[in-house]
Amino acid sequence: MSRFKDVEHLLRVAAVFAVGIALFVAVRAILVPRSFGEYGHYRGNAIAEIAAQPVVFAGHQTCEACHSDVAEVKSKGKHATVNCEACHGALAKHADDPGTVQPPKLDTALLCVRCHEVNGARPKNFPQIVAKEHDPAEVPCEACHQPHSPLMGLEAKP
């Protein structure tokens, strides 16, 4: 055993290293979430957490499940491609609880010009008006145009 006479200090260092590595492995196993690396260098559970965010816009399919009469009128008019919540706003809460959560009343004076006020950057074929010339008396738009089927003189009037 004379060959190993002076190795005690080496063994001590080796022991310190071994404990250190064991500690690192143990702490790492506790701290790194189990789903880390499931799909790549990130926490796999983050995907499900982001997907669990609540929905605010119900989607037109949800609206049409109850308001099929409006969907019918709209599908034949110029606004067929305009989804309900484009004008009515986000209404998932109303869809979840139609009894207590009522959609807010809309102001056509603000809503219609948002899309239809003339603007040089809008596509030329998009119907645009100068509100001050088109409606100098500030008659509400819906007095003449039914918003769900806005062309005048069509059978789809209210």
Partner: protein, 243 residues
């Protein structure tokens, strides 16, 4: 608090189970959704955009985006007749309140909605030092806000300027392509609110998606193709002056 040995012994397994659930995270939110069946992108048709700002407002409502920050925004370009390479771009409040009419005449004007390009080889995910931002197996670039340390590397790395630091949480934030909606079979909030269909969510792995026919029959571009980011935000009728 004084625990007897018996109480302590009963408490320990309960704590262990609670810790286990913390480590496991939240359960899968959409059990019928298979990530491997999808590869998401979006189509933006410039010739249909009317600059109403519906998408910007819808995004802010759906995702609780703080005021003055944008996950999507609309830019208005003005390209004069004699200078095709230096367009004048404005985007008042991200286009949230619409655009006042431009007074000078001449040249051409058009709107360009912008948002995260959900790049297949994204620079932003490559620079994250902690694995807080990543691309999902279905092609959506997301941020894990529990892991984000707010170092802003990704914000600088994005060539499209699509990220910002949330002033409240101090973590990087960006468009999630409404991941919570598309995994439930809904379209994104911006697409839902777009009145002209200028925005269309596209599933490139779905052979029945109209995007394939559209890409074949139209002149579609991505932004900054020379960066080879693999951008999946397809622009139809995009003017060459758009950066």
């Amino acid at each position: 608090m004084n625990f007897t040995r018996r109480q302590m012994l009963m408490l320990l397994p309960a704590a262990a189970i609670a810790w286990e659930s913390v480590m496991a995270g939240t359960p899968e939110a959409s059990p019928n959704y298979a990530m491997t069946d999808h590869w998401w992108g979006m189509l933006i048709d410039i010739s249909k955009c009317i600059g109403c700002g519906n998408c910007v407002r819808a995004c802010a409502t759906e995702n609780n985006v703080p005021d003055g920050y944008f996950r999507t925004w609309v830019e208005r370009y003005h390209v004069s007749d004699d200078n095709l390479v230096s367009p004048v771009v404005d985007s008042p409040n991200g286009g949230k309140d619409g655009f006042p009419p431009r007074l000078e005449s001449g040249g051409k004007d058009f709107f360009v909605p912008k948002m995260c390009n959900h790049c297949a080889d994204s620079p932003c995910t490559q620079v994250c030092p902690v694995g807080a931002t990543f691309i999902t197996p279905d092609g959506v670039v997301l941020v894990d806000k529990k892991y984000c340390i707010g170092c802003r590397y990704c914000i600088q790395a994005c060539p499209y300027g699509c990220r910002f630091l949330n002033p409240k949480t101090q973590t990087a934030e960006k468009c999630t392509l409404c991941y919570h909606r598309i995994t439930k079979g809904l379209t994104t909030a911006c697409c839902e609110a777009c009145p002209t269909g200028a925005r269309q969510l596209a599933d490139l792995k779905n052979p029945k998606d109209p995007i394939h026919e559209f890409l074949r029959t139209h002149n579609v571009q991505v932004l900054k193709p020379y960066l080879a980011t693999g951008a999946k935000l397809f622009y139809n009728d995009l003017d060459g002056s758009v950066r």
